[in-house]
């Protein structure tokens, strides 16, 4: 059914590509062996973004990461948007396509956030159906990413890992394990990050995300971690990452830094740190 399987990303370090880093990245990629782009930023018709992407794709394996497909939405997938993603994947031939276990649209409005889902049989059926459609349209297996969450649904009846595992079993999709999201959600949901990771099916993981978060408080004064992608990866997340790599072996690992961007050497140093963990496990 799928003519491409996502096995082309190297089990080395990559970074989320930002246009601000174009020249510095090309001059000195350092430990960075592959790049990830947000699909929606490259759905224009031309100009500098697409020219840069064409150039980079000649030098680096590219991972296309969608942030707007709303796979968990109650409404049908947006056929036009899916067609645009397909057109992008058709010319770019990326090494990987991934999206989120989340929703972001309602009645035609796009809310630009990764909103949470209750883990129920109804959600499971809907998400699996949408992933089938995406994989059918793109002609490739996709990766589904675990979310950062700030609250829970009283109606949820499954644990998140169990939910993701069942989605993968039904659709044949792979998983994108965001270790920062695991830490953020574990603190926010009062559960153990280690237990979550130890239960996670690492054989299905095609990519790992690492990123920064910051701390806030909820109404009761409890720590609430916010997935900001605007800071270095926390030591705690590095420790969880080493635990994952020790058990599952080297995996393509991405540093996500989307806001308050650092200069290139700072971002490259984060990638180098991930590369050292990967080299240690190889």
């Amino acid at each position: 059914m799928f003519d491409r399987v996502d096995r082309d990303l190297p089990a080395r370090a990559g970074v989320g590509y930002k246009p601000q880093h174009f020249s510095a990245l090309l001059e000195n990629p350092g430990a960075v062996d592959w790049l990830e782009i947000h699909a929606e930023n490259y759905l224009g018709d031309g100009g500098r973004p697409l020219a840069q992407l064409r150039h980079l794709a000649g030098r680096f394996p590219i991972s296309v990461h969608g942030v707007g497909l709303s796979i968990g939405g109650e409404a049908p997938l947006d056929a036009d948007h899916l067609a645009r993603l397909k057109a992008l994947c058709d010319w770019l031939q990326p090494a990987s396509f991934s999206e989120h276990l989340a929703w972001s649209t309602h009645e035609g409005a796009f809310l630009n956030d990764l909103l949470p889902l209750p883990y129920t049989a109804a959600t499971l059926a809907r998400v699996a159906d949408h992933i089938d459609q995406v994989q059918e349209a793109l002609g490739r297996r996709m990766l589904l990413e675990n979310p950062s969450t700030y609250l829970a649904f009283a109606e949820s009846e499954m644990a998140e890992v169990e939910f993701l595992q069942e989605i993968a079993r039904r659709t044949g999709c792979f998983l994108l394990l965001d270790v920062n999201n695991v830490q953020v959600s574990a603190v926010n949901q009062g559960r153990s990050a280690e237990a979550y990771l130890d239960a996670f099916p690492l054989d299905l993981v095609g990519e790992i995300h690492l990123g920064g978060h910051h701390a806030d408080r909820d109404d009761q004064g409890a720590v609430l971690l916010i997935d900001s992608h605007a800071a270095p990866v926390e030591d705690r997340v590095w420790a969880l990452y080493r635990r994952v790599i020790a058990r599952g072996g080297p995996k393509p690992t991405l540093i996500e830094w989307d806001d308050d961007l650092p200069d290139w050497p700072v971002l490259e140093a984060e990638a180098a740190r991930a590369a050292r963990v990967l080299a240690g496990a190889a």
């Binding site: 031309g46 796009f110 209750p118």
Partner: protein
């Protein structure tokens, strides 16, 4: 859980947090829901700030953020391609009472939107007009680059934008017709000579060059307009009747 209720509360901070959303101990979600509210409003506000920097200078950062908050709730994006979010902003400004005393703001927003549109528009190869004898050219239709945008304003819209971004004296109060062109990757707003706006509007509408020059009127400096198009490589195609 119905996502409709979630969205309504997301966009209206005065609505209560939907039932069934909880903290780990089962308590109502409270401020935890506000994380989503803040992410949605903050993210879209940043998109508008990046897209309308001159507008933001003109009204001030705090006022702009408040105005963006009103706009994004009334006009949430309809597309997932956020780099072009804000096409409804000029129309919104036209009917937003707190800026009624700044009647040129909608056109400044239109110019900034035209620059963004142009930045992401399709690439083109400039047409070679050299092979066409000048007198024959008058009977030809010129197709402009996909990245060309014409804005005709009753206000000195290009000068206002430039003064807002670079400083300098207040511009003289006159109408300005502006042609946004992208020769490489960075669009530039070019001020058109008198009659240039009418001439280009006719050209874009499908008139022949000769007819477009007539549309430009008596004082139209057609040579300057044509010179601008050629210097910027903004003609993407030529169609000449036999």
């Amino acid at each position: 859980m119905m996502q409709a209720g979630f969205v309504a509360a997301l966009l209206d901070p005065d609505l209560p947090v939907p039932a069934g959303l909880v903290a780990p101990d089962g308590a109502p979600a409270g401020r935890r829901f506000d994380v989503y509210r803040n992410t949605v409003a903050g993210g879209l506000t940043r998109v508008l700030e990046a897209g309308f920097p001159a507008l933001r200078r003109l009204v001030g950062a705090d006022f702009f953020a408040a105005m963006a908050g009103v706009f994004l709730r009334a006009h949430p994006p309809r597309s997932r391609i956020l780099m072009l979010y804000g096409a409804d902003f000029p129309g919104f400004l036209q009917h937003f009472p707190p800026v009624a005393h700044l009647p040129y703001l909608p056109d400044v927003a239109r110019l900034e939107q035209a620059l963004r549109d142009s930045y992401h528009a399709a690439d083109h190869r400039p047409a070679d007009l050299g092979a066409i004898p000048p007198e024959a050219l008058l009977g030809c239709r010129l197709r402009l680059a996909p990245s060309a945008r014409l804005l005709r304003s009753a206000w000195p819209v290009r000068s206002i934008r430039a003064a807002a971004l670079q400083g300098g004296p207040s511009p003289a109060w006159r109408a300005e017709d502006v042609l946004v062109l992208r020769a490489g990757f960075d669009p530039e707003p070019h001020l058109l000579p008198p009659g240039g706006g009418a001439m280009l509007a006719a050209l874009i509408g499908g008139a022949t060059l000769g007819a477009a020059m007539d549309a430009g009127g008596e004082g139209c400096d057609a040579a300057a307009v044509l010179g601008l198009l050629l210097a910027q490589g903004a003609v993407a195609g030529v169609e000449c009747a036999e």
